[in-house]
Symmetry: C2
Subunit: 225 residues, 2 copies
């Protein structure tokens, strides 16, 4: 069935080209919407409709990134980012309106060392971190801490969270790959997260810490990078 057998480079190029063009078309839609919005009063009854168009383009862009992540074989681009800043940025963006007076918003993020240079596709790694947060959010009643640590061999992100249910079944599912998780949203998040981690020599794990506390672990190997 695979017409690209032995021609992965062609497949990747065509998918990459089609993605760019879809992004351009979506950019066009946003642009036309912005032109209309510029002329409108906020009170105009067209205003919320045009805003909905813009919101839908953003959602579409997210799905496109996810789908392309699932079907592509490798990262096409990478640069050195500071991992703790990226993690903080994704966490803060993920939750609406941080409380200005809360330095631990949305939860405590600890990093050791405080800066960790990390080679990755910035767009993809942000998407992976976004989906990791979606997963932990869905599993937990509360996220306590996110600990980022680096040594010579690996970088690890430990999301420590409280969960009232037993996570053994899910843990097995995750270790086995995907499996019988019910929510399609979480399945998609998990699939994208797993794929992105592998694209960056990373892996996903769930471990029990104590009592009702669990660790969702993203671990990137620093060898062969």
């Amino acid at each position: 069935m695979d017409i690209f057998e032995g021609r992965q480079a062609i497949r990747e190029r065509l998918l990459s080209d089609a993605t760019h063009r879809m992004k351009n078309i979506m950019g066009g839609i946003s642009g036309f919407a912005a032109l209309i919005l510029k002329d409108l009063d906020e009170g105009s009854h067209h205003y919320p409709l045009v805003e909905r168009i813009q919101e839908n383009v953003i959602r579409l862009d997210q799905f496109l990134l996810d789908v392309m992540t699932l079907v592509r074989e490798r990262t096409m681009y990478s640069e050195t980012i500071d991992l703790p800043s990226t993690v903080r940025d994704v966490c803060v963006n993920h939750y609406a309106d941080p409380a200005d007076d809360n330095p631990d918003y949305p939860f405590k993020i600890e990093s050791s060392p405080s800066r960790i240079p990390f080679r990755a596709d910035p767009l993809l790694i942000r998407n992976g971190l976004y989906h990791a947060l979606q997963i932990v959010d869905a599993l937990s009643s509360k996220i306590e801490t996110l600990r980022i640590e680096s040594d010579d061999a690996a970088v690890s992100l430990r999301y420590i969270f409280v969960c009232d249910k037993s996570l053994n079944a899910l843990k097995e599912d995750i270790l086995a790959g995907l499996g019988s998780i019910e929510s399609v949203d979480i399945q998609l998040s998990l699939a994208v997260c797993l794929k992105l981690m592998r694209m960056h020599q990373g892996e996903v794990q769930i471990d029990h810490l104590d009592g009702k506390r669990w660790i969702f672990l993203l671990r990137f190997s620093l060898n062969d990078r």
Copy 2:
């Protein structure tokens, strides 16, 4: 790299689900645009902008179908269609505004027998025929005839067209799979067409007929269907 190894059903379901949701979001954009358009004069300077939004959604939908065709393993749905009617329909839609007084518009389509029941995913097969036409259009200076024939073993569509250049290189490319065709549009069309044909037990071939006339052949096997 493939987190779906041995879990093709999960992969197909997730891709299918993500596609449906992208289509819903695009439907939303079209719907909001239609609501705005309903209120507007054709003379309003917003009118063409909203129309462009709608056109872009249609182009996006086409790319989404193409990308999903390239990455999916199998058809999910099939029904019995009449192949000659579908072919005629796609050909007429492909060219703008048929001349009312020309029974052979856009070119002569002959079918023997006149009706050929054919089991396929109607959306996918139409997309395959659309791309086949894109390819033949790009290769030819003129399409003369499209001959649809059916016997017990196979259904074949022969696009007979005139081409001033030698097609040997392209012919080899097509037989080999893809290769060194320069235009990305045609590469995408060819990749989608090849993939769709294989999904429906079909194959693509280019043969020399005589002089400057060539045959672009789509052949569907009727065994194992």
